[in-house]
Symmetry: C2
Subunit: 367 residues, 2 copies
Amino acid sequence: MRIERSMLADLARGAAFLGSGGGGDPYYSLLLAEAAIKRCDAFELLPLSEISDSALVAPCGWIGAPTVSVEKLPNGREAVAGLRRLETIMGRKIDAVLPIEIGGGNGLAPLIAAAELGVPVLDCDGMGRAFPESQMTIFNIRNLSACPSVLTASCGSLAVIETDDNLTHERIARSLSVALGGIAHLVEYPLTGAQAKANAIPGSVSAAFSAGAAIRNAHANSEDLFEALTQALRDTGLYPYSFTLFDGKIVDLERETRGGFSIGKVIIDGFGGQDRMEIEFQNENLIARRNGNVCAMTPDLITVMDRETADTITTEKLKYGQRVKVIGAAAPAMLREENALEFVGPVAFGLGLNYTPIEKLNARAPA
Amino acid sequence: MRIERSMLADLARGAAFLGSGGGGDPYYSLLLAEAAIKRCDAFELLPLSEISDSALVAPCGWIGAPTVSVEKLPNGREAVAGLRRLETIMGRKIDAVLPIEIGGGNGLAPLIAAAELGVPVLDCDGMGRAFPESQMTIFNIRNLSACPSVLTASCGSLAVIETDDNLTHERIARSLSVALGGIAHLVEYPLTGAQAKANAIPGSVSAAFSAGAAIRNAHANSEDLFEALTQALRDTGLYPYSFTLFDGKIVDLERETRGGFSIGKVIIDGFGGQDRMEIEFQNENLIARRNGNVCAMTPDLITVMDRETADTITTEKLKYGQRVKVIGAAAPAMLREENALEFVGPVAFGLGLNYTPIEKLNARAPA
């Protein structure tokens, strides 16, 4: 599939939703992708099944607190510098790139690199959404190594990281991102084509396109934006349940940038004045409680959206007074397997409860 | 010069003194050096003038809080792993190693690497003592680049760092050392032989030998340990003034491990009960005040020693009740040049006063 310039806004909109509040607002990534597409005419999106087994495939994206990304702009060369260094280390050319996470700005980040390298973007990603930590990727869950990885920063600094332990890798990369101003670009989990095919979350880039296009079309046809979005998500097959969890106004917000993350809690009151939703986040929205009862939890998606425009409000953009709808969606099945939940379920975030799928928690809601 | 096993204790003792309280207690480095010398029979100490201009010379040592080094032991392969990686990056063999700082355990650290690589240790170092931060080396003062550098940790993790800015390099390496448990090995400021000859502090390794041997001989001959030490230092020519600044008992100590450093203040009361010395430190002793008057400041050396044994008490080993002598020594002239003081003088540590040489501050003391 060719990705034309006119399609980039759909991808940005869809990726923002799939970020579950994180991955960074895609606005700057969209601007960079629009600039990049002028140079290469169109990006190529390659179905995961079409990559050759022996190919070198490079997942990439940004690491850091989304709050920082709003103020500290990239120099635009970070991704290419990191990918070129990976080529030097591996002694061969990269054949394709993919987003380490489809969610937020990171869903678009590899486009710029793809344009520079002249390689396709694979229609897949490493998280099926966005997660705050590097080891929360399906590639770690499936025991692949994050290393060698290459971290680059807007000041031109570069670090090659090698470690056997993917959690140590996260700690190293996180501390580097903090030392280098709070955000950095990371090329990690270099894969063969065969490893990508066996482990990446397939079709997530085109799912983001579908979600974004559905909202655009609903705008154009004055249809219900959230109906269109949730229907489109269900139609992808990757996010088989999706529905509106809450409708209301943000009445309280706690948020701090700590340890390289945006951490906090948002409280949304229903317009009737009786219902209340509370969402905890660490870059991404992790758990939603409606009137004290859990109604969605990681790895299922919880996204706060502007109730008039269906624009996603990432956690760093939450503000008192915003009128919002909260949309939930079932995570891709690969993230719900028992060994995956160890890394991306509620236990991984210290939430102290077992995972219950969103469709069970909302059995009476429309599916 | 051949360094035999019997000489290692002298080097450890002398390097401990030159650490000015920092560089880490040399005890573990001594054990590692003794183990290494069994494999290679003897180390070779090469005068700086004898290295060829085109040689590849690698300064190395440990970065982190000395307080951590007491509890977290190295695996013994960190230096070799880092140096071998530098060879891969540079595409050639390393011809010689040198201590990035002669002070403390770091004065011995390159011996182990030299034994493994089969190369000599150059009789020089990058600081003429120990300093807490990487950019405080003469190589940064003289505008040489810290990169490519290689950081290795006891868990086997490795990071290659590339940045144009040596202060950013310090920030990156420091945050990595914190992320990897508080201490890591760093190969940095790779030099040509010509660059080493023009910039390194010459003769500092043999100066450490002399200082250590002087104390050992004084012990054997029941002579005054501190007379012997200060005379030996003056005789090196590198530390032209040296004398006892204070004699007393530690009556108070504040010390915390913060931002990857050991930071604090020690108070020593004279035995007469009237005089008091206060020393502030950041890994190394930075400034000494006698009865409120500054009597020594960085980059001049201030070392607290056991008054019975003349064993150096590094800042992480300071304890209430220790009976000590405080010995001062003039820093090598290269560190007292105006542009050097920007990086290693009192202003560099935010001490808010201009540098005055120790011999001027103690004009009435015996030189």
